[in-house]
């Protein structure tokens, strides 16, 4: 079974050879300068090693230790080159959003201005300390008792230690700030450094503070993103920029197995590009239930197309918007109804049938939407059952081992089949959103053929997969399942490659969904 290889995203080994380059750009060399189009992995070497698909994105997974180490390295480097304290180097780097080159360049040019802007002001040496000053009154709590411990940064704005602690507690715990906490003085831009914080806050708060600081490192860098899976602490590095998102769908896979889009953070939505996904989700949130209800309970005014609900009363309708008078039953002009007011039997009359045609037309767009929505929702529903399927598979594999005497390795084909079903359904789901916004051109037909092939393959596999254990033990069925699994995966790759190529070339034409 090599089918897993076919659709796995770039694994660690794919990107290892890029790691040197990646680290360069991670240092921020590309700040403000457009990089050449991201290399989608079509280097000679990689082609020889393993065929890489156009829809595969190059990326790298970082664990919390890696993220910390990267920051420490940068801080050390700046600390050595500029000969400044490590705390100051860290503040400067955060101020420059971790763009080391720009920091060093600017600092060489105008060190005083850089320090001032970053809140480091004119400096005197010496570590921060709490002091007792005679005659001091804290401007925050108005405390002035003798022996009051107070603290001031180099800006000289002095407050009592208690107030400082309260202030930091508020900023760190309640407001989630870390890298840019300023002096409490109104208008003072000086930023609290880590050493001062160590002096002022409890250890519990320090942990939270350092956590938040680490977060800013990832959040500040365009090419880094947190894995959005619950409890996952990894970050992903990927060179895809915001402006590329209409041409690629950068799906990445974290080491925690979560597959998501680097562009928007949502779960893998290939082949649909981010913008389309956003539009579709919004439409579904607004429309789907409402649309169903409208379809079942309302009609449009034959004259102005306003949607009307008849919530009681007779068939004589007067449109509130355009004042058109019509019959609810036949949709014809009310004036032609004569005396048969409460019992319309005029179905064959001309004005009525014309109005009903128009009505039908306006329903088409709604029905078109519902067509795509229902298929999308169906695959989503099936995707939600993924977990069930997976646990069922495991049980099946165990009972199959006992029932047929097959070894563990011999029943792995069920695991592969389950995996293929899940991934393919996820893709299929988004093909329907994709298709909803697609204009009808020649390319669309090819897309729909691909979609149909994949859908049929998936449904067939799904049916085989649900067979009872005694049938599964049949070697013939096993071969069929294995064949179908690899066929599904192949169809998925074909569909994704085709859509990704056309997306990269700007070949798709979009409609607004009507």
């Amino acid at each position: 079974m090599d089918s897993d290889e076919d659709f796995g995203m770039s694994s660690e080994e794919d990107v290892l050879e890029d790691s040197e380059n990646d680290n360069e750009s991670a240092d921020g060399t590309d700040f403000g300068i457009d990089e050449p189009e991201p290399d989608l992995g079509y280097t000679q070497k990689e082609q020889v090693k393993k065929e890489k698909k156009t829809f595969d994105t190059t990326f790298k997974v970082y664990h919390p230790d890696d993220i910390q180490a990267q920051q420490d390295d940068l801080i050390d480097e700046v600390n050595m080159i500029l000969d400044i304290r490590k705390e100051d180097a860290a503040i400067l780097l955060r101020h420059f959003r971790w763009n080391k080159e720009r920091l060093i360049e600017d600092y060489m040019d105008r060190p005083r201005k850089v320090l001032e802007d970053a809140g480091l002001g004119p400096s005197t040496t010496g570590p921060p300390k709490l002091e007792v000053i005679r005659g001091f009154m804290c401007d925050i709590c108005c405390e002035d008792e003798p022996g009051l411990q107070s603290f001031a940064m180099k800006c000289g704005h002095r407050y009592c230690a208690d107030c400082y602690r309260q202030y930091l507690n508020q900023k760190i715990k309640e407001e989630g700030e870390a890298a840019r906490i300023q002096c409490p003085q109104d208008g003072c831009k000086r930023i609290l450094d880590a050493k001062s914080l160590d002096l002022l806050v409890t250890s519990e708060l320090q942990n939270r503070y350092h956590e938040l600081l680490t977060r800013t490192y990832v959040e500040d860098k365009e090419q880094l993103k947190w894995c959005p899976a619950p409890d996952c602490q990894n970050a992903i590095e990927c060179g895809i920029k915001k402006k590329d998102l209409d041409r690629v769908v950068p799906t990445v896979a974290c080491d925690c197995k979560h597959r998501f889009c680097f562009g928007c953070g949502l779960a893998d939505h290939q082949p649909a590009p981010c913008d389309l996904v956003k539009k579709w989700l919004k439409k579904c949130a607004d429309d789907s239930e409402t649309a169903n209800w409208i379809s079942a309970n309302t009609k449009e005014c034959p004259k102005c197309n306003s949607t009307i609900e008849k919530n009681g009363g007779c068939n004589h309708m007067t449109c509130r918007k355009c004042k058109h008078e019509f019959c609810w039953m036949c949709m014809g002009l009310w004036s032609e109804h004569g005396t048969s007011w409460y019992n319309c039997n005029r179905f064959e009359e001309k004005s009525g049938s014309e109005a009903r045609d128009a009505q039908a037309k306006s329903r088409v767009s709604l029905e078109r939407y519902l067509h795509y929505y229902n298929r999308y929702a169906n695959h989503e529903q099936s995707a939600k059952l993924d977990k069930d399927i997976f646990t069922k598979t495991e049980k099946k594999m165990i009972s199959l081992q006992t029932a047929s005497g097959m070894s563990w390795i011999e029943v792995q084909y069920l695991n592969s089949a389950s995996h293929a079903l899940q991934t393919c359904r996820q893709t299929l789901k988004w093909t329907y959103a994709f298709a909803f916004y697609l204009k009808r051109v020649n390319l669309t037909e090819m897309f729909e053929d691909n979609q149909k092939d994949l859908e049929m393959a998936v449904e067939a596999l799904s049916e085989m997969f649900e067979k009872p254990v005694d049938e599964l033990a049949n070697p013939k069925l096993k071969v069929e399942i294995m064949d179908k699994t690899s066929y599904c995966n192949k169809r998925r790759v074909i569909l994704l490659a085709d859509t990704a190529d056309n997306l990269a070339n700007g070949a798709w034409e979009w409609s607004n969904g009507h």
């Binding site: 925050i140 709590c141 309260q166 508020q170 409490p184 003085q185 109104d186």
Partner: protein, 153 residues
């Protein structure tokens, strides 16, 4: 509450001693709710000969947290017309939100900021969406995320 009480006690003492022109202390019975009146000092026709009433609400975290400040409507104290003041008295001003607030601000400085906010305004209008906001808002002012997009008024 000890934290806020001490500071408010000092502020109150100072307010009793002297107040900037156009600001009057109406009531400060406890350290939770205070009422103050403010007037605009120049001849801005929008606010001429008017007095406005402010209600301050302090939490135990004051002055680390900003106080809640709203205009209140009484018989002879209307809600001033301003593109950042809703007709229910809620004020959209950055220094009253956690982003713009610093513990160095106090009751007096807030009053003065509001005076100058009114003085500098020439638009006889309510914020956009005032009707809807007033009809639907159930949140406390401090929980509302205002957009401080327009700093010209």
């Amino acid at each position: 509450m000890a934290f806020a009480t001490k500071r408010l006690g000092k502020e109150l003492k100072k307010l009793h001693e002297s107040l900037p022109p156009g600001i009057e202390l109406v009531s400060a019975e406890d350290f939770q709710d205070w009422l103050l009146d403010i007037r605009v000092l120049d001849a801005n026709p929008l606010y001429l000969n008017q007095t406005y009433r402010l209600k301050f609400k302090f939490s135990a975290q004051y002055p680390i947290e900003p106080p809640e400040v709203v205009f209140v409507n009484t018989k002879d104290r209307p809600i001033p017309m301003h593109p950042h003041i809703y007709s229910n008295g809620i004020i959209c001003l950055d220094l009253l939100g956690s982003q713009g607030w610093t513990p160095i601000q106090n009751v007096e400085s807030i009053c003065m900021s509001l005076q100058s906010m009114l003085t500098g305004n020439s638009k006889n209008e309510r914020p956009e969406g005032d009707q809807q906001f007033v009809a639907n808002n159930r949140r406390r002012p401090r929980d509302i995320d205002f957009y401080y997009h327009d700093n010209t008024v």
